[in-house]
């Protein structure tokens, strides 16, 4: 099937743009960037149709082995790509949504500096993401994992001249290191316990085992994998990097921090579902982490005023939903939500980007409003996305979220109820953002001076009046809008993933859960309408009456400050005082200098032999050879 072609195209795009991009005109850079992604999208289609994956084919995994990468002892790790239905779904999401976002970015970044750099990074990200989903063993998965982490770092810090951007990049990178540490430990454990890293061998071994066998191992591996997943997918306690990651350009937020990379954790857990199914505790932990994150992030989302922050927290909360799905054993539901979320959250971010673009870089909801007459297309597309995420009946979000909630109810009713509340909050804050953005009248300054704004993408044009985006931006919006409207109905993922995961059985008489979640969503929307359209005074008064919890929530429960106090500052001080002053300055430097002195003394000694006569050197060499041979002759050497 020539799977290797899929990631190769973006890699080529990266090489071309990265090396020559500076000299190429923008059109050429666009052509290379989008063309490479388009080619790999086409190849994905060809591969999947070739394996007629959409018409009942590809029930079993198909592996392509290319070459042995690491061969140490009995452990042999090859560079192998595999494609099964799970991979197929992820491939479609990554390349399809990725392509749309690339096209969008050509319009969005039009006025930016470092144009070619941006697209080179984006292509590199695509390459690593495809490696991640295609890899047929944990090590390749890890390679892709680290690679996307790197690209996310590069792209968050795209405006590296701004301190907040580089800080956010570092934060994301460091927080992810913690997760990756867990993940790598998990990989080591797997290699230790199974003697192989291939998905095929590992999972067949696991499935072969009785459920309770090696429970300790399984739990350890599963929990460590979960640590990795929480890092990459921004779950409690490692979610803190994602909101700051919004410092990157909006297409990056859409592609990496909403649609694809952050769902890598979900993909990884679903991929290693066999291991998780062998450890009930680990599954419970996953579910609890998920539901906690969902609720927690949703509450924060209620109060934010930066539109991208709102969507960022909603991303965290939706990822929490996915984890709930995974943790309650409804892996397919989780993946389903990955797909629908990719649609509407990418759309939300792109729409937000379009709004920001329209407002020449404004991100503060309080300075927006009344944009519906300026940017109708953006409004309608955003409406679709908001309805979809709010779980409005028969839109994409509805199906996946309902599947997850049903599974949650099967698992533990309290989880279901928290999920419902979260759904309500989700609907509320999304529409809060929507109404604040498009209804009322424009609260921004039409003068177009952009002083005093917080962090934002920079310098879209110079005009102050809001304006609709170019077609290269709203066409992807439209496509995504259609997808987020009908996506859930068209692609019934749980049914599609039957061969891999057993579908969550619908308990009879549990349809009311569906109605409850719909009701929650509608309530949220209604409340938002009341609060921010009918009588905009209410939120203020609420904020004043519940001042203390409001401030807590508004400041994100002071989690960042807590982390600073508990983790960051001690490390910084410790390394400054202890490591640097004592150990490095005195100890290591002393040793190094001492070695230098010794070397000089020896040199003075040895210099006497340097007579400058080649033949005396040769004689020395011969004597040395004689010594060696004599030693061999005496000791017997090695036979």
């Amino acid at each position: 099937m020539q799977l290797w072609l899929i990631p190769i195209f973006p890699l080529l795009g990266f090489v071309l743009n990265g090396l020559l991009g500076r000299r190429l005109p923008k059109s050429a850079v666009n052509a290379i960037a989008c063309g490479s992604v388009f080619l790999s999208f086409l190849w994905v289609l060809k591969v999947l149709f070739g394996a007629n994956a959409f018409s009942g084919g590809l029930e079993t995994v198909q592996v392509e082995k290319y070459f042995t990468w690491i061969q140490s002892g009995t452990l042999s790790i090859g560079v192998d790509f595999a494609v099964d239905r799970l991979t197929a779904v992820m491939l479609m999401i990554v390349t399809g949504v990725g392509l749309l976002i690339h096209i969008y970015a050509t319009g969005y970044m039009a006025q930016e500096g470092g144009y070619y750099r941006f697209f080179a990074y984006l292509n590199l990200f695509m390459f690593f993401m495809l490696i991640l989903v295609l890899g047929a063993n944990f090590l390749l998965l890890f390679v892709g994992w680290e690679g996307v982490g790197l690209c996310s770092y590069l792209l968050i810090g795209f405006y590296f001249l701004e301190k907040f951007a580089s800080d956010a990049a570092n934060k994301a990178f460091i927080v992810n290191r913690i997760g990756d540490f867990g993940f790598s430990l998990a990989v080591f454990l797997i290699a230790m316990h199974f003697g192989s890293l291939d998905f095929g061998t590992v999972f067949t071994t696991v499935n072969g085992m009785p459920v309770e066998a090696h429970a300790g191992w399984m739990t350890a591996i599963a929990l460590l994998l979960l640590v990795g997943a929480t890092g990459k997918s921004a779950q409690i306690p490692l979610y803190v990097w994602l909101p700051d990651a919004m410092a990157g350009p909006t297409p990056v937020s859409a592609l990496i921090h909403a649609a694809t990379m952050v769902t890598a954790g979900v993909y990884m857990i679903a991929r290693s579902s066999a291991i998780f199914l062998h450890s009930a505790h680990a599954l419970d932990v996953v579910a609890i982490v998920g539901i906690a994150t969902a609720f927690f992030a949703a509450t924060i989302g209620l109060t934010q005023f930066d539109i991208k922050k709102v969507y960022a927290y909603s991303t965290v909360s939706q990822l929490g939903y996915m984890f709930v799905g995974l943790g309650t054993g409804a892996f397919s539901a989780g993946i389903w939500h990955v797909m629908t979320h990719a649609f509407f959250k990418a759309l939300l971010f792109l729409g937000a980007g379009s709004v920001i673009h329209a407002l020449s870089g404004e991100q503060d909801l309080r300075k927006m409003g009344g944009l519906r007459q300026y940017t109708p297309i953006t409004m309608w597309t955003l409406l679709c996305a908001s309805l979809a995420i709010a779980g409005f009946p028969f839109l994409s979000g509805f199906y996946s979220k309902d599947a997850i909630l049903a599974a949650a109810y099967e698992h533990a009713p309290w989880m279901f109820w928290i999920g419902v509340i979260t759904a309500g909050m989700t609907a509320f804050y999304v529409f809060r953002a929507f109404f604040l953005c498009f209804f009322g009248e424009y609260r921004g300054d039409l003068g177009g001076d952009k002083h005093g704004h917080g962090h934002k993408d920079h310098g879209h044009g110079s005009h102050g009046t809001p304006h609709e985006s170019p077609p290269s931006m709203w066409i992807p919006l439209a496509i995504l809008a259609v997808l987020s409207l009908v996506g859930g109905y068209l692609f019934n993922i749980p049914k599609y993933l039957e061969p891999l995961f057993k579908a969550p059985e619908e308990a009879p008489g549990s349809e009311w859960t569906m109605y409850v979640s719909i009701a929650a969503g509608l309530t949220g929307i209604g409340l938002a309408y009341v609060f921010y359209v009918l009588s905009p005074g209410i939120p203020q008064s609420i904020a004043q009456t519940f001042a203390i919890p409001y401030r807590w929530i508004y400041n994100k429960y002071f989690v960042d400050e807590f982390y600073d106090a508990a983790v960051v500052n001690p490390i910084v001080d410790g390394s400054r005082s202890l490591m640097w002053r004592m150990i490095d300055a005195s100890g290591i430097d002393g040793i190094v200098n001492g070695i230098g002195h010794v070397a000089r003394a020896l040199g003075d000694l040895v210099r006497q032999t340097q007579s400058g006569f080649i033949r005396s050197y040769a004689a020395w060499v011969v004597m040395g050879a004689i010594l060696v041979i004599a030693a061999m002759a005496i000791t017997g050497g090695t036979r």
Binding site: S611, G612, F613, I614, R615, A618, A619, V622
Partner: protein, 109 residues
């Protein structure tokens, strides 16, 4: 090497190795005795050849082709070395008008 009175139909491998050793030490001798840079250089080539012979011999003993590969690489490297070395010799001769190895004893001229 001692020749046994009745000449055997074929010689043992160790004779080839002995021949290689003798050639090698002849090369060393050339390196040590000769004064002409070019001759010294040729002695190095002689040593390389001796080593090649033992490579081939061992690859005969092990019935593997690797020895041939190694000696092939040795040849290639020797070619490169000869090119550069002779160029250096030309330069030295241009600067010092001598090929006597003992007269080229200082790094500075």
């Amino acid at each position: 090497m001692p020749m046994p009175p009745p000449l055997p139909a074929s010689v043992p491998i160790s004779w080839y190795l002995m021949l290689s050793a003798i050639l090698f030490s002849l090369g060393v001798a050339g390196f040590l005795f000769r004064r002409n840079i070019i001759t010294v250089f040729m002695s190095i080539e002689l040593m390389l050849n001796a080593v090649n012979l033992s490579f081939i011999t061992f690859s005969y003993k092990l019935r593997q082709v690797d020895g041939h590969i190694f000696s092939f690489f040795v040849m290639v490297v020797a070619a490169a070395e000869a090119a550069v070395g002779l160029a250096i010799i030309l330069t030295v001769f241009k600067n010092r008008q001598t090929l006597q190895i003992d007269e080229i004893s200082s790094l500075k001229n």
